[in-house]
């Protein structure tokens, strides 16, 4: 090659390399690497609010990459009761229902106290093509509804705690909780646990299989909720004599589970 064209060619190559470098930002790196870099910025002290937009951009730019879901998960974690969380939930619902990565985000979705979160889990359960996502959505939807039941029971027992509930959960979700009918809620819980038992019984969870969890919860909902006839108890008393709970029908009974240790 003649020297002048060589120089021109080299110059052209160097310039185009620099141009390409600019085009993909400060990286020719993968979405995962870009995600990590944003996380590092946060850990270095940047305010989550400032970084949120960049995480959203990442999710927009690489919708098929798991890093997009990670990015939205980050927003859910760091900006939990902020408007950005709602936006993240909406994005997940709109663009990422098919993602296998959604399984890992289900716990955080459940922790975001909102109707959108509940809807998203139901959508994932119905629409995801991945069994693992369906199972996690089912589990965390069930846990979310269990938590609602606890709050509703608390509100019935102590109506004065309503203010604290509104404060903790925000007005919209707080009011929603206060309006829930305990019987309907139990029906919903029953349906979700029945689905769990039917479709995900063998999936492992922290304390056993989802089948075991479902059976335990279904028993509780069906037989140990307020308004249900208590299951029979029979066994020996401390002196070895057999007796049954049903012997006490016709009386008001206080059952006390107690012991020393």
């Amino acid at each position: 090659m003649r020297p002048r064209s060589f120089v021109t060619l080299t110059l052209l190559l160097v310039l185009s390399a620099a141009y390409v470098g600019d085009l993909s930002g400060d990286d020719a790196s993968s979405p995962a690497e870009r995600y990590q870099r944003l996380v590092a910025e946060y850990e270095a002290g940047r305010e989550p609010r400032e970084l949120a937009e960049k995480f959203f951009d990442l999710a927009e730019q690489f919708p098929k990459d798991p890093a997009a879901v990670d990015a939205l998960d980050w927003v859910l974690k760091k900006l939990r009761n902020q408007p950005e969380s709602q936006r993240a939930l909406e994005r997940l619902a709109k663009n990422h229902l098919e993602s296998a990565r959604l399984a890992a985000v289900c716990p955080q979705i459940a922790r975001t106290s909102s109707l959108t979160a509940e809807k998203l889990l139901r959508s994932a359960l119905e629409k995801s093509p991945h069994l693992e996502v369906q199972a996690q959505a089912c589990l965390h939807l069930a846990l979310l509804l269990d938590q609602q039941a606890t709050v509703v029971q608390q509100l019935k027992k102590k109506p004065e705690s309503a203010e604290r509930v509104l404060e903790y959960y925000g007005k919209e979700y707080g009011r929603h909780l206060a309006s829930l009918d305990p019987k309907q809620l139990d029906k919903n819980r029953e349906q979700v646990y029945e689905r769990m038992l039917k479709s995900f019984a063998d999936v492992m969870s922290r304390d056993g299989t989802l089948g075991q969890l479902a059976e335990k919860q279904l028993f509780q909902i069906r037989y140990l909720s307020i308004g249900r006839v208590a299951p029979e108890i029979q066994g020996q008393d401390i002196f070895g004599k057999e007796f049954k709970l049903s012997q006490y029908r016709g009386k008001v009974v206080m059952l006390s589970f107690w012991g020393h240790w």
Binding site: K157, V229, R249, V252, V253, M254, S256, F257, G259
Partner: protein, 108 residues
């Protein structure tokens, strides 16, 4: 609880203590006169497992039909709950309790 002696009320326990003989001594020492099931000597006994009890004390209040009406009430709320259910029982015509699940009996 003394004023409940003449009322159709029963306090029943489910006990998780491991040593039955020690427990008999405890009953005497603490003058516990109400009856308890001994749930096989551990907190994983069959009754506690079935009722999914992990924290103690856990309390359930049942009405005259065996329906669970209150859970984990204490102090005044407990007294009120028992009083309410006793009033309810007194106001009803005598009937054999049938195992009906969803009667209107769960209205306060």
């Amino acid at each position: 609880m003394k004023q409940l002696a003449d009322q159709p009320f029963a306090l029943l326990g489910i006990n998780s203590d491991s040593d039955r003989e020690e427990l008999k001594k405890t009953l005497q020492e603490e003058q516990i006169t109400w009856r308890s099931w001994w749930d096989q000597g551990s907190s994983n006994g069959p009754i506690q497992t079935r009722w999914n009890v992990t924290l103690r004390p856990t309390i359930f209040i049942l009405d005259g039909h065996g329906v669970i009406r209150y859970k984990d009430v204490t102090n005044e709320a407990l007294d009120d709950a028992i009083a309410t259910l006793l009033k309810e029982l007194a106001g009803q015509p005598s009937q054999k309790a049938s195992a009906d699940k969803n009667t209107g009996a769960d209205k306060k």
